[in-house]
């Protein structure tokens, strides 16, 4: 009996750090299991801070960081957390990481921290963080959970940055505003471009997100199940 159990444990331990399954944890959220377009989590921040590329990048990094480490720690504690109070335990851990991100931003990129103040604080209520904790970290080992957090953070970032790219380019006519390599796209080409005001509104972002989902679904062949 005991030898059989040990054999199973040994087998699992011998799984390489980046096995096929673990790589899937990183790559699936980028496309077929994307947190925004497929799981439909974290929509509010996707609409609110994507009017420029720079905050979108900072937000994605912040969220990736928080999700990955919250996943890691919750996964380590998963067998000791009583399931009746698990949400509050998860929130406590998430908030630690959110505060750390917030303080880091305030210390090194203060302008950005001022612009994103509310949204950094609201990472704690970002559905992706809680969603991944509940759906993955509570039932998986620390390392896969960590990878899952990174993967979902990146999947979120891909959508966020591509939305911000389109919105900033066609809404304001610039790219990477506020970064060292800021580019006045249309001005530098000598085109008098009139910014599209709708894209700068959250409503425009919602339509844009719909278009992204439309494109993704027509590539992946998604069909609504009735």
């Amino acid at each position: 009996m005991s030898t059989a159990v040990q054999e199973v444990v040994q087998e699992k331990k011998s799984e390489p750090l980046f096995s096929k399954k673990n790589k899937k944890l990183l790559s699936n959220p980028l496309d077929i299991d994307n947190p925004i377009t497929v799981q439909v989590l974290g929509i509010c921040s996707a609409l609110a801070i994507t009017s420029q590329v720079k905050p979108a990048i900072v937000m994605s990094l912040g969220l990736t960081f928080v999700t990955a480490f919250s996943n890691l720690f919750i996964s380590m504690l998963r067998n000791t957390i009583p399931s009746r109070i698990r949400i509050i335990v998860q929130l406590a851990i998430v908030s630690v990481w959110v505060i750390m991100v917030d303080q880091l931003l305030k210390a090194y990129v203060y302008d950005m921290a001022k612009l994103m103040s509310v949204y950094v604080g609201l990472i704690i209520t970002n559905c992706i963080v809680m969603g991944r904790l509940e759906a993955f970290a509570m039932g998986n080992k620390p390392w896969p959970s960590f990878l899952d957090g990174i993967g979902n953070g990146l999947g979120y970032g891909v959508i966020l940055i591509s939305m911000a790219f389109v919105r900033e380019l066609f809404g304001g006519g610039t790219l990477f505003k506020g970064l060292p390599f800021e580019w006045q796209v249309f001005k530098s080409m000598g085109i008098a471009y009139q910014g599209n005001g709708l894209l700068l509104l959250p409503a425009g972002a919602c339509i844009l997100l719909g278009i992204i989902i439309w494109i993704q679904r027509s590539i992946n062949g998604y069909r609504e199940s009735h």
């Binding site: 009139q194 599209n196 005001g197 709708l198 894209l199 509104l201 409503a203 425009g204 339509i207 719909g210 278009i211 439309w214």
Partner: protein
Amino acid sequence: MKFLRNQLDKVKHNFEKGGKLEKYYYAYEAFETFLFAPNTTTHGKGVHVRDAIDLKRLMMTVILAMVPCLLFGTWNIGHQHFLALGQTGTFGEKILLGLGQVVPLIIVSYGVGLGIEFVFAIMRKHPVNEGYLVTGMLIPLVMPPDIPLWQVAVATAFAVVIGKEAFGGTGMNVVNIALTARAFLYFAYPSQISGEVWTLLGEGVKTVQGYSGATPLAVAAASTGNVMNDFAQFGSGWAEGIYSLNNLFLGIRPGSVGETSTLMCLVGAAILIITGVGSGRIIVSVFAGAYAMGLLLNVIGGNPFMEMPAHYHLVIGGLAFGAVFMATDPVTATHTGTGKWIYGFLIGVFTVLIRVFNPAYPEGIMLAILLMNVFAPLIDYFVLNANKNRRLKRATV
């Protein structure tokens, strides 16, 4: 006619199954049924109402109903132009000037819209739908006369792709497509479609002394004393009595191409109601809703706009045009009889509310119709449920 038929027959074999242009069969089919009534008929079995009118003929009726507005609008563009410049133009000059603005608008609207329709029809392998025939005419009629054409093209593309094709094509859209185009421009490029852009001036012209491009809605919203006095005084020196009740009803005032004339909209309404194409209930109830809300605001009072006599609400802005041609869109309106009364009435109420209380949006009919479009299925749901309950109570078993 014979010539067209022959030409169509000559190329037909290319598009049929096995022909080299088989992929484009539906593009061909669209032209054929546009020009000639199709010879396929509904089978004898079943419960269908058999009638000579099909969707294309139905849409043509709506376009015919819009022609008075279009013609009047064309003349009005020229008339307002000469008025603003302090010149007098002949009837022909005014029409020519108007045509110079309206024809490109119509060409761009139809060109872009139908182009996208054809592409989607070929991609999705379904016949080209007729819905765009009306939308393509409505879009130019709700634009300011000198709006840049590229903006019309972008708005049309947006409205057709996002407003219609994303939902599955003609008959599946949730909100009115022509108004989607206008709302897009309103939020995307507000400087060309709000403020004092409603008169065609042209580059570098000198306007007559005392000229102001303010619309009746703007005048009423900015009024500090008595709206009636402001209307009477507006235009003194260059266009006496331009905002008198009579003139407002006839529509000889600045505004979108086709929206200005309440009279012409009523002519269109008569055509729609007589032919049974548009719903009279909706048209009547929109006017009733706006009038009732106007009266209520009169009773409450408070600021000059609220005290403006209620009947003025019916002739300023685009209320009449929206009521007759936009609210009656059979796809986006409610389908039940009682629902139509409620739907129209609320459009009227919200229009006046937005006009009077929201300084950011001088005109409310566009937003009111879009809002009620979204609520139309809900209204139908409640009307149907009420009907069910009533009949259940009556049932003896």
